[in-house]
Symmetry: C2
Subunit: 147 residues, 2 copies
């Protein structure tokens, strides 16, 4: 019986340590997600909307566009390839991020500006709210699962 | 040094046990979120939209309605009190749920049907996709944080 007590003490100490590490990580993960959104938006500026949404989508990502769910990275890429002009611009930044205690799921929201550019070069600006759910992948990277 | 080894073995055993419990919980938590959406939808049928959204909102919940963010349970309740007719109906069910490994954050999506009923009793039906982010509260209950 006496041997059990230090083992239990050690077990609880490990769990408490584990928990405090988690709390520190949550704060780090939140700023990581804000940075991820910036990286994602910057990539879209440089490489275009279809390439950006392909790079940052999880394989099973889902997007809701005009009340329709588009499921899977391939379908998302096809959707953007066929519905967006090459000159369209999309810029955004997250105002808010929260992350689960386990650091494997999080969500963000903020403002986006979409500039549609027609073949004559006329630009029309649309502003709105974006919202993204992110999931950490097996390789440690964040990819979006819902947008 | 010899004393350290059983302590380390015990620490890793606790962490491995903790992880396998997590994996079992994730499966349970997913069905819990599907049930939460049903409970939420049922409550809205019985008590109306403002009361339902008040009951299931976290204190710092945010909803995006028509491109505007409405922040906080009180503001959400006020929004529904002032924009919805008492006879309007809203029904939904989740097709999908996923939950973080720590079981404190999850998200769902599925179809909703909104029936707007005017003062003359004329009903008009709108169908769409809903999406909710849930967060487990300190008392163990789930509340939505983004809708």
């Amino acid at each position: 019986m006496k041997k059990i007590i230090p083992i239990l003490v050690c077990a609880f100490a490990v769990m408490a340590f584990d928990k405090s590490i988690h709390l520190l990580n949550v704060r780090a993960d939140k700023s990581e997600l804000i940075k991820m959104e910036k990286e994602f938006s910057d990539y879209v500026q440089q490489q275009g909307i279809p390439a950006g949404f392909e790079k940052y989508a999880a394989e099973d990502a889902v997007i809701n566009r005009n009340g329709n769910l588009i499921k899977g990275r391939e379908a998302i890429n096809k959707f953007y390839q066929t519905t967006r002009s090459k000159n369209d611009k999309l810029v955004w930044a997250a105002d808010f991020a929260d992350v689960s205690a386990s650091g494997d799921m999080g969500y963000t929201y903020g403002n986006y500006t979409y500039t549609a550019v027609d073949s004559a070069g006329n630009a029309k600006e649309y502003k709105g709210i974006f919202h993204t759910v992110w999931k950490r992948q097996k390789d440690g990277s964040w990819k979006f699962v819902y947008d």
